[in-house]
Symmetry: C2
Subunit: 474 residues, 2 copies
């Protein structure tokens, strides 16, 4: 099983079909101002339908940088997307939150703050995400302000802004600019990232074009992510969906470059099969793994960073289903070498619930994969010839100095993964992974330390939030 | 994260150290007859210590075929180890059996038969394994006969024989010969495979040399598998353990070739970290994944098929821990392209329990991985341009003819992995993976069909089993 599952000919054919789709079928673009821009740039616009010139699209693609360095409100926190590391973020979007003591419930602002703190304390998630759970106890019209504020205040890392529409994105960007110390600083060092999803197949709706424009105007990076479901929003055959992925993404790239040349764009691959029994997406199953591998090949072909993977699952609780789906998905993430990994921790129930226990377990999974990425060092110390000679045939390495000096660093040890005797396990209460996960999120939350914030910036942020909330809720 | 994690220089250094270990430290060989053979072949033998000539070992290695075609008692069932497919077998060795209705219990002969039938019915496991659970209700001295018989009778596939000592292996081989229609036929088409484990570090004990000799004499393949535990039976640093893996395995290869030139040998990689909290092995954690990748590189370097991976876990029940460990281990299995995958289904609790539910779930995992191995076809039909044009921007593929015709074959669907709404899931009884797994093993058992057996062969087998059991139990 190879990550480079498509050969050059297959990639060429997908590309050729994407160009043909753009030129012959075209995309809908529901934004009068963008349609004007596109017409001015020589694209064939009829009503809301845009038929794209392939050469034009590929020229715009060439303007995109191959990576983007993000900086948080707290300058200690940086993350380069496209620089060879995986940049993980917590889940975003769940209307519900759950932990085993308080149960499954509507998300609240207090949950959001707790989840931000847990994620921050883990040090496994270099970027945060607005809306890790939806703060349903606050006004729908203005709660995006408090959710993004909670990241800026309690974490200070760069983040994916809560941007489900242009106006909300503009609020988020205004706050990001305050946090960065002004619009110029923000433009120099992007701190907020926008996710835009064309409505597959082939529709760029007004809300999303608006978010795209708002981010591009300030040079904040865009993860352009068609939401593809093989058999629903895409053909049931994966190759066809990949051609849609390319067509929709590159159309977004071209629009972003028209707004501001050099806007960092990330190819987003969120492409699952549909579960024909329910119509829902099937993350972590073979289709999603294969499309993540293919997404990686396409991103490298187009010179774009890749957004993909995550700890995705359809499972309802932290059982074997959720664990398998998430582990499958994370393997795809690491093998495809996704640059930006949205929903890397806390995702449960198809993304509808932010689970505290799942977040703790997912964070441990990241630690596990990061250990694997280190590989095996082969040098005299690690080859340990003298130790082998010293222990000799039939000996035991357990108490040898070489072991005692190194086991803490050389061996992966985890509260989640224990090897023990069944009677011991029973005697200790027959604890399952879920039980341990409850301990772990509490322990992360306990270990959280406030990174602090400049009081003038905090005051300016609070002022903005309170003023805008009052306006929006009026 | 790459499966070829070691570069040529690293592989060279591991090889060089393995040769140095063989030449300078040597191995113990606790078998007077084998020591005589080795001395006669020019190896330095002092007492039970053998110091090997590296050139001699490498010459013997060159005599090993690169693959071996196995044939079962029923000639419809074949499996080539080293031919590019993964040959999976059920778990072997667990003293306990468990299912959710009858609980965790001592394994019985009836459990063994049920597990053979479930594994056989799945069609996911081209080879069986004697001792899938230990038939503890039968005499310790003779039960190996009934366990191997249950495979020959109820499955007819090739199998890993129950061979924990030379005499038991000889019984197994005698039965395999009857099943094959005689010793000559068995030698032409191997039907039984022996697993031999040197006692790491660097001891070949009498029991195992005896099994090795018994198999080699009849040309039955050997999976030579050091049981390496980083920090216990191997240095805590993985590179050192890999050099032991090579040294111990190639010593075994050389012995097998001395007995019979051309004996098929498989490089076995079963190399985990130790859990320092208990001293037990940690399957499915980073060490085991990395060593499986490295084992694959070494096997390819030496031109040997690879035995490795499996659905291994340390978890006690079918919770997220077991699921994650097993999924990690299966990814390593598929990426390293293990040729022989022992313990691919049913392994629970560090291999101490054969779980019916786990077997059903593992079988489904194999199906999932096999689907992924197929990759993505890119051709006109799968690119589906006309369908995309037909559906058009904003359309839905769900009810399109292209979808309806293909979704049953193109999409992976599984009773274990459902995408559904939380309220629906609750209404249907909040069933977890474990609940579904109980249904699934029952359904596999129900679907089992007796492959039939030639009555003369069966009579001869029964006669052998009954006679030998009477002798052994006397």
């Amino acid at each position: 099983m190879r990550r480079d599952l498509l050969d050059e000919d297959a990639l060429d054919r997908i590309h050729a079909q994407a160009m043909r789709i753009l030129e012959e079928i075209g995309t809908e673009v529901h934004s009068p101002s963008m349609l004007e821009k596109l017409a001015a740039a020589g694209q064939r616009v009829e009503g809301t339908r845009v038929r794209w010139d392939a050469g034009f699209v590929m020229e715009r693609l060439a303007e995109v940088p191959s990576s983007v360095a993000m900086r948080g409100r707290d300058p200690r926190y940086t993350a380069t997307i496209g620089g060879g590391s995986l940049v993980h973020t917590p889940v975003g979007g769940p209307p519900f939150a759950s932990d085993r003591e308080r149960g499954r419930r509507d998300g609240t602002m207090s949950d959001h703050v707790e989840l931000v703190k847990i994620a921050h304390a883990s040090n496994a998630l270099p970027m945060m995400q607005g809306g890790t759970t939806e703060a349903q106890d606050l006004s729908y019209l203005s709660r995006h302000l408090e959710m993004d504020y909670s990241i800026i205040r309690w974490s200070g890392r760069p983040y994916i802004m809560y941007g489900t529409s242009g106006p909300k994105a503009r609020d988020s960007l205004a706050m990001a600019a305050i946090a960065a110390g002004g619009v110029d600083e923000l433009q120099k060092f992007p701190g907020a990232l926008g996710i835009v999803n064309p409505n597959s197949p082939l529709v760029w709706d007004e809300l999303m074009v608006d978010v795209l424009v708002a981010c591009a105007e300030l040079g904040q990076p865009l993860a352009i992510t068609p939401f593809l479901l093989a058999g629903a929003s895409a053909p049931v055959s994966l190759a066809g969906g990949l051609s849609l992925l390319v067509a929709e993404t590159l159309a977004g790239v071209a629009m972003a470059q028209l707004v501001r040349k050099g806007t960092p764009c990330i190819l987003g691959c969120f492409f699952n099969g549909v579960d024909m029994r329910s119509g829902g997406p099937s993350p972590g199953l073979p289709e999603s793994v294969l499309t993540t591998f293919a997404g990686g090949q396409l991103a490298r072909r187009y010179g774009l960073p890749l957004r993909g993977g995550g700890a995705l699952c359809a499972g309802m609780v932290l059982d074997a289903q959720s664990a398998i789906e998430s582990t499958m998905s994370m393997w795809a993430t690491y093998i495809a070498e996704c640059d930006l990994v949205v929903h890397a921790a806390g995702w449960l129930e198809g993304g509808l619930t932010a689970s505290y226990e799942k977040m703790a377990l997912d964070i441990e999974m990241i630690r596990m994969f990061d250990r694997m990425r280190e590989g095996i060092a082969v040098n005299d110390e690690q080859l340990a010839y003298d130790t082998i000679a010293d222990v000799g045939p039939g000996g035991l390495f357990l108490a040898h100095q070489h072991t005692l000096e190194r086991f803490r660093t050389d061996l992966f040890m985890s509260p989640f993964f224990r090897s023990q005797a069944y009677p011991t396990w029973q005697k200790q209460g027959s604890r399952t992974t879920e039980d341990i996960a409850t301990d772990q999120w509490k322990s992360l939350l306990d270990s959280y330390e406030d990174p602090g914030i400049d009081s003038a910036i905090d005051a300016e942020l609070r002022d903005f939030v309170d003023r805008r909330a009052a306006e929006l809720d009026a």
